[in-house]
Assembly symmetry: C2
Homo-oligomer: 390 residues x 2
Amino acid sequence: MDPDFSRLDDLLAEEDADGYLVDDTSHNSTQKYLSGFDAHDPFVTLYTPERTVLLVSALEYGRAKKQSRADEVRRSADYDYRELRAEYGPAEAKARVHAAFLADYDVSSVLTPERFPLGPADGLRERDVTVTPEESDRVTEIRATKTEEERRHVRDAQAANEEAMRAAEDLLVAAEVDDGVLVYEGEPLTSERVKEEIEVTLLRHGCGLDDTIVACGADAADPHDQGSGPLRADEAIIVDIFPRSKTTGYHADMTRTFVKGAPSDEIREWFDLTHEALDAALDALEPGVTGEEVHDVVCDIYEAAGHDTLRANPTAETGFIHSTGHGVGLDVHELPRIAPGGEELKPGHVVTVEPGLYDPSVGGVRIEDIVVVTEDGYENLTSYPVKLVV
Amino acid sequence: MDPDFSRLDDLLAEEDADGYLVDDTSHNSTQKYLSGFDAHDPFVTLYTPERTVLLVSALEYGRAKKQSRADEVRRSADYDYRELRAEYGPAEAKARVHAAFLADYDVSSVLTPERFPLGPADGLRERDVTVTPEESDRVTEIRATKTEEERRHVRDAQAANEEAMRAAEDLLVAAEVDDGVLVYEGEPLTSERVKEEIEVTLLRHGCGLDDTIVACGADAADPHDQGSGPLRADEAIIVDIFPRSKTTGYHADMTRTFVKGAPSDEIREWFDLTHEALDAALDALEPGVTGEEVHDVVCDIYEAAGHDTLRANPTAETGFIHSTGHGVGLDVHELPRIAPGGEELKPGHVVTVEPGLYDPSVGGVRIEDIVVVTEDGYENLTSYPVKLVV
């Protein structure tokens, strides 16, 4: 099932543009989504309401014809790139090739992503193509609604994620405590060691990632601190894992908070309150509700219990100091936002719900599930138990 | 030791521009190199002959002050980004902030990388800043010459790489042969299994990578095929590993070719000839020699032995059908090129030398070392033995 590009057609009609043009590698998720193709080097995708066409190097031609979702694939050699480069150098050769390619499809005006490359844009403008970066980020909006197949990809990544969380929890369980510090196989158990186990487990399940958070105590009180050094008993350890499937490119995302030993009463209260906020936010999730409304549910609960939030106090440095969640797909952070200004939820949106509390003098607590919005509510893609003490 | 940016100063003078502007994440190696800063979200680096200044979000401010090589760090909040966004939306707010930031440093004309983002460029142009994408790729040229520290980073990545190659070779050694197929722990030993072992070993040594090549038989005859499925005895298996250090961002790169069992006479001849080509290319490496001249040494040897090359036959599909090597640094492929048109070699260049022969009816053979050009020759950063039969 192809994504529904009718809103992109609408945008092209509104802006009186012939097509939508992307020039990037498939590391750009909009490029990957529109083209359905993976390549490390930049290539060009032209979307028009009639067809999607790729322009690739000879090297990628066979693979693009087989793997991409394009209706047609052209080669730069079809437009004499090599000869033009010998005569004019690479930048002008590329501009001439792109202009000839667009002319072949009667395209004289294009919308592009905001971060379309300047050199190629100037090259087209010099050849009288109208090139307009568009601010609405329409393809990103379209990407928010996941097809059945995309949901399956997220589910698969989440299955690997749960194996990795299990490996992390198992390490904490197996650790002993010596003078307040976790010890495993005779060495202090560090954040780095747990992250390595998580990453190796993900690799064994076909996923990769560059970052993981395993943050203990005061580290965990900064939601952007990835954690380092020995893990300590009786303190909250936040484990936040957001892997990407190496085969599909789709992400998952989940956070759990663990205490090895005996949590303080405060940590325990925070954990229970955060669990309550998670459940309440999930209860509120359904089509037609906005991301902002779901975020408000979480803020209501925290504020009622006397905690600071960014909603009540935009400069708060403790309490609930981030948003409630975000879409997940080819990017680990994408639309919709479960946050102030967050968009109306629709069936097929895949989002995280991740309330949390932070204070350097206490530590940090966060619980995060990943769910898909359905016709009448949501389905939780997370089956990992929520449990504080290990 | 800072890199030598004098050639960037020269370019700015030639083009009569006040500064060089980058707006990207640190996944862009030019951004990472100029800023000395790592961030997942786009930020701005302004280079002028007097100073390097970063413009970052409040979230990154403290880290940027500590970690970057910038002389000054500014925050978008210093230019009222939040208020402007509320009034004008994100694109115009960003344009106003960037224009005010440049004005603060008396910069009214900038050169940018060819692929600078179009929206921000248009925003600056509308505010009378001259924005010119530059084709010479000057920062990439500067990046080719590695400081002592950068060489150390490559060396460290290569040490991890040799551990990974060892793990791969150990699996091949430990495998048994059943009906022509390699078997390990009761299962066919696949390309995927060996790649997993390589990646896990790299992770355990602080490196990551997205791709590895473990290609056997006809797969190996396509230099871009990453290999899949069961590995077979008596056939050449190409193992090409190019990891990236997770801490420094620098790469290494090495290829070995193995045969489990008995290679054909042809594979053995190819291997010996390729080893000879490697040694001859290394002998030719010294400052003042061009990458093209080193490439020619390899072509001479292969052509004298009756093999086709792209030099002799640009449409060759068998024989030596790629270039001899490339620079390695923050990017796994960067300047200089050891290829037709390849640049003059200079002390501090880190390059691969990787001759190879390919034919689907025989398989593929490639041997690749990574070396640094010194004042009077080169130093080989590779210590992994070159040996065909395992």
